[in-house]
């Protein structure tokens, strides 16, 4: 402790800027980790709270995926003796186009029985309505809203709200304003209660319910009741506690969670290099000091402990700031994540407040400290190994010894051999990930050697460009590989991350564009919701007939898609008349003959599954696939595997008549229209509006509208990852600033001599700038090469464990070219401060500096 105060504290005080920069790596890494995970948790927690608050006294919930089920199921459930109360529910998020928050969660219930489960605590004066629930039901335009929602939108009792319903615009009357309570805080307070039979009409549910909420009679064992209900209803129904819905939501956001993990770990990894670099330099600079302390009697253990304690304290302070910043950015991220999940999966959620898990925060602190200590481990060992006699002699210690460099190269070569063999057994997940890990380690071991080669290679060019400044800058790098390699590694890792994610993005855009060209070729699309991934509103089957009667339509395809559980995973089932679909477009085959697979699927003799479904759940061509439906288990062979990008969780394509038969659901989500040649899209839009305006809720999308929407969602997805990229690049820039700051301190006398013999300030500045640019270019070159390898592994990871989507390997050359000015610019910006520091100091002091 005494040593820490006497030696470390003095050093930190003297090099405060460098200490802050070193810590910044950890701050950013931890901030990204905490920010992204807290955002994810907040959204998940908001969902769970909404489920929990809406559940009230509900003990079990019965669902059949998104397709819902017939009313008669309720009677069967209510008939069970152990069921105290069972009530039907329809739940949907709708946009009311009101002045404040547009989206509201509509909970449609049967008010006669529902008060046995939920407590609708009304404002004084409104109780008359609900005291007799029949009054509420007798007026099917009744609506109850929360006090917060009413206040935000200027609503009072008897206010009117018009809602675009499936049977045309409907005006609802606010007949109750609920006091703030558990229930009303669901969905951030944006909650409305409606009568369930009115909701069936509004949302186009037919005679179906989304869910049954129930409570058991006293003394009933819930697991037993759960078993009874499952046996009674069959495998197509899920009987779960309300909290189980959180797990399904979690499964949907798991891709994001995994991405958050990968990138925040990457950011921390980069931060680790900055710490390693700083400590390695500190040990070099403090050799004399270490030598004196050792000569005075300090043991090797004490010296090592001194550096490790320094790093732990640095890690703890950095991680603490990281946690604070993480929590600050979490609310912004959670808002966009909530919207994003709604757009992608149609599961809207609002995260009003940031919900932080103390375990996550503690874990982040620990992660910061551990990262810092690991990073400082090697330099601390080097410090402990300092020989007091040698340390007190003056000389250059920056250079890596030839032996040390050779050892690194030998280890890297051995690792590359192992990696090569790993590629042959990459089907095994452990071997695959080990191969990736070893590639990263081997690459990093080679960084000092490659950086040295590249520094030597660019020296002539730099000398040619600026004889003095260029030579000095290149020599500074050549002479101090240890000083440079940390920053180069950090930069190379960031660039590799940019390239691999950029490559993924490019491959995704290419694949999605190709898929859209083939699969989304209708001229127009009709939907009942603004957002095509939202399935709250559905057209009745009769809607098809109405559209068909409009002249000018060459072909019409009716689509019903629904998210259902397959072995506990929320997958997408898409039903369409396959015989009709295949006339206009068919998805490229991955396994199976196209003509045969579509024929079998059209005849109801097989499923078509998407490539990512096959990847994610290990389903093979021709294998029997079983899907649970409200009418029993549907088991068919996989007639073909196709390339389809419509859902990240995998898609099963079945013929519409099979869906109607097994799910008792003839509603429609989307109508695909192909027009006659003699009619334009605007003309058809006008005809449709003329026929249906005011009669039904309808959104008309052109082919271009839909494609733009899909690209927008894809942009949002990659937008999230670009936030992480920005952080990674920022960390790398910090690395360059750190390195240059150290470089200038190291070369203070050299720069002083340069000025003494006649270098103008501009010439000194250019030397520092050139050094920064050289670090940038070397890091870029290594990063671009490393990125090519990282991209291969990223695509494999995406196919295996993230989305199951197989994307073609395409190196993002244009992005690589774009990175050149970005990195050179960033390096120049990073060099501005240090360069000024180099020219502003006292020349006399610089010349005396040792």
């Amino acid at each position: 402790m005494k040593l820490l105060k006497l030696i470390s504290w003095q050093y930190v005080r003297k090099h405060l800027l460098r200490t802050v920069l070193t810590m910044a790596g950890i701050v950013l890494g931890v901030a990204v980790f905490v920010g992204m995970h807290t955002a994810n948790q907040s959204v998940l927690s908001a969902f769970t709270k909404t489920v929990d608050r809406i559940a009230g006294a509900t003990q079990l919930q019965i669902t059949a995926g998104e397709s819902g089920f017939d009313e008669e199921v309720l009677e069967r459930v209510q008939a069970l003796p152990n069921v105290r109360v069972a009530v039907p529910v329809i739940e949907a998020v709708v946009n009311l186009n009101l002045k404040s928050q547009g989206n509201i969660l509509v909970l449609a219930v049967d008010m006669t029985g529902d008060r046995g489960l939920r407590d609708y605590d009304l404002e004084a004066g409104d109780d008359t309505v609900i005291e007799d629930p029949l009054v509420f039901i007798a007026q099917p335009d009744s609506l109850m809203v929360t006090r917060e929602f009413a206040a935000a939108n200027g609503l009072v009792s008897n206010s009117k709200i018009t809602l675009a319903a499936m049977d045309g615009p409907r005006t609802f009357t606010v007949r109750g304003i609920m006091k703030s309570s558990g229930l009303t805080s669901a969905f951030g307070g944006n909650l409305a209660i409606m009568d369930i039979y009115a909701a069936q009409k509004v949302f186009g549910r037919g005679r179906k319910f989304d869910r049954i909420d129930l409570a058991a009679t006293e003394g009933t064992a819930l697991p037993e009741l759960q078993r009874q209900l499952s046996a009674l209803l069959g495998p197509g129904f899920e009987v779960e506690s309300p909290s189980a819905r959180g797990k399904q939501f979690e499964a949907l956001s798991s891709v994001y969670g995994m991405l958050a993990n990968i990138t925040s770990l990457f950011a921390l990894f980069i931060g680790m290099f900055i710490i390693y670099n700083s400590f390695a330099i500190a040990v070099t600079q403090r050799r004399g000091e270490i030598g004196i302390v050792r000569a005075l009697g300090a043991t090797r253990g004490q010296i090592q402990a001194l550096f490790l304690t320094e790093s732990a304290i640095l890690g703890l302070i950095g991680a603490s700031f990281g946690v604070l910043f993480g929590l600050l950015i979490a609310s912004g991220i959670s808002a966009s994540l909530g919207n994003f999940l709604g757009e992608i999966y149609g599961v809207a959620q609002r995260a009003g407040e940031v919900s932080s898990d103390p375990r996550l925060l503690l874990g982040a602190l620990l992660m910061g400290v551990v990262t810092s200590v690991i990073a400082a481990w090697i330099p601390a060992r080097a410090a402990a190994g300092v020989d007091p006699v040698q340390a007190l002699q003056k000389g250059r210690y920056q250079q890596l010894t030839k032996g040390e460099n050779r050892l690194r190269r030998q280890i890297a070569s051995a690792l590359f051999v192992i990696v090569f063999f790993c590629l042959f057994f990459a089907q095994n997940r452990i071997i695959f990930y080990s191969g990736y890990f070893l590639t990263v380690i081997a690459g990093l071991l080679l960084v000092p050697t490659v950086a040295l080669w590249l520094s030597k290679a660019i020296r002539p060019a730099m000398k040619f460009l600026r004889p003095v400044e260029g030579t000095l800058a290149a020599d500074s790098l050549i002479q101090s590989p240890r000083r440079t390699s940390g920053a180069v590694s950090a930069l190379a890792l960031s660039i590799a991350l940019v390239i691999s994610l950029g490559g993924m993005a490019r491959a995704s855009y290419n694949s999605i564009n190709e898929w859209m060209r083939i699969a989304l070729n209708p001229d127009m699309f009709l939907t009942a919701t603004q957002n095509i991934t939202d399935r709250s509103f559905r057209f009745p089957a009769s809607f098809g007939d109405e559209i068909r009667s409009i002249p000018g339509i060459r072909r019409m395809q009716l689509v019903r898609n629904a998210r259902l559980l397959y072995k506990g995973n929320p997958v997408m089932v898409v039903s369409v008349d396959i015989g009709n679909l295949v006339v206009e477009s068919y998805l490229p085959s991955v396994a199976g003959d196209s003509a045969t697979m579509y024929r079998l699927a059209a005849e109801g003799k097989g499923f078509l599954i998407s490539d990512n479904f096959a990847q994610l759940y290990g389903v093979k061509y021709n294998e029997l696939l079983s899907i649970n439906t409200p009418n029993g288990t549907l088991t068919l062979p996989v007639a073909g595997i196709v390339r389809d990008y419509s859902d990240q969780k995998g898609t099963v394509l079945i013929d519409r008549k099979m869906f109607i038969h097994y799910w008792n659901d003839d509603t429609i989500n989307i109508v695909r229209l192909y027009l006659e040649k003699n009619i334009t899209v605007p003309e058809m839009r006008a005809r449709i509006e003329a026929k249906l305006a005011g009669k039904t809720r309808l959104f008309i999308l052109t082919n271009q509208d839909l494609k733009s929407y899909i690209i927008k969602i894809t942009d949002q997805w990659f937008g999230l990852t670009y936030i992480q990229l920005a952080v990674a690049v920022l960390v790398a820039i910090l690395g360059i600033i750190n390195t240059l700051t150290v470089s200038i301190t190291d070369r203070r006398r050299e720069l002083g001599v340069l000025q003494a013999v006649g270098a103008l300030r501009g010439q000194v500045r250019r030397t520092i700038w050139l050094e920064a640019i050289a670090i940038g270019i070397i890091g870029l070159a290594i990063g671009l090469a490393f990125g090519g390898v990282a991209l291969y592994y990223s695509l494999e990871m995406a196919a295996r464990d993230i989305s199951g989507l197989r994307l073609d390997y395409t190196y993002p050359w244009s992005m690589a070219a774009g990175l050149f000015p970005v990195i050179v610019g960033a390096a120049l910006i990073a060099a501005l401060g240090p360069a000024e520091q180099a020219v502003r100091g006292s020349l006399v002091e610089a010349l005396e500096y040792e």
Binding site: R396, P467, V468, T471, L472, D475, S476, I478, Q479, R749, E750, G752, V753, L754, Q755, A756, V757, G758, A759, L760, R761, G762, Q763, V839, S842, L843, V844, L847
Partner: protein, 198 residues
């Protein structure tokens, strides 16, 4: 010509130290001056001020008639570069540059063409008898050789007898007429007084 008029230098810290107090000095062209005095008497401070490495707290310094007060850093650097040659006590050679590059450095900074720099640097090193050490790094030289490289670097302006004396054993020849810009430039050197320092 070097001219100092009432030049003072104070160092402000916890306690103020007056290193030079109203110094007047005139050194004419071709004149050789040695500063001798005990440690702490302000010799280095005076040389730093004359050399344009530092600025006085008070008083005026003129180099060849140019008043140093009020000129900006780059103008001061140009005076250093064009009119002053330094041989530092510890030579201050750049460790990463060869002998030839070290000597060529100030010439590059002046923007001379490469061929002229090369010829002149070789010539200067030949003058200090280091023709066989052109590509050697400073760490590969003896202390005396390093000193000669430092002298050659300073000679870019004027080969001079004072420097010759600094390394009496080498006996290198001084070729008059090669100097640039003026063979009769003023020379100063500082040394400790025999009564105070060993």
């Amino acid at each position: 010509m070097i001219s100092l008029s009432s030049v003072s230098k104070r160092f402000d810290g916890k306690r103020q130290v007056i290193a030079l107090d109203a110094v007047d000095l005139q050194i004419d062209k071709g004149e050789m001056v040695s500063l001798v005095g005990p440690s702490g008497s302000g010799k280095s401070t005076l040389l730093n001020l004359i050399g344009g490495l530092d600025r006085p707290s008070e008083g005026d310094i003129r180099i060849d008639g140019t008043l140093l007060r009020g000129i900006n850093d780059d103008e001061l650097t140009r005076i250093r570069r064009d009119k002053i040659g330094f041989i530092f006590q510890f030579f201050n050679l750049l460790p990463t540059l060869s002998c030839l590059e070290n000597v060529a450095l100030p010439l590059h900074l002046r923007g001379w063409p490469a061929a002229k720099i090369n010829d002149r640097s070789r010539e200067l090193l030949s003058l200090v008898k280091l023709d066989n050490r052109l590509e050697h790094l400073p760490e590969e030289l003896s202390g005396g050789e390093r000193q000669r490289v430092a002298i050659a670097r300073a000679f870019r302006l004027s080969p001079d007898p004072a420097s010759r004396r600094a390394n009496g054993q080498s006996g290198f020849e001084h070729r008059r007429g090669d100097s640039d810009p003026d063979p009769r430039a003023a020379r100063t050197a500082a040394g400790h007084g025999p009564d105070r320092d060993a």
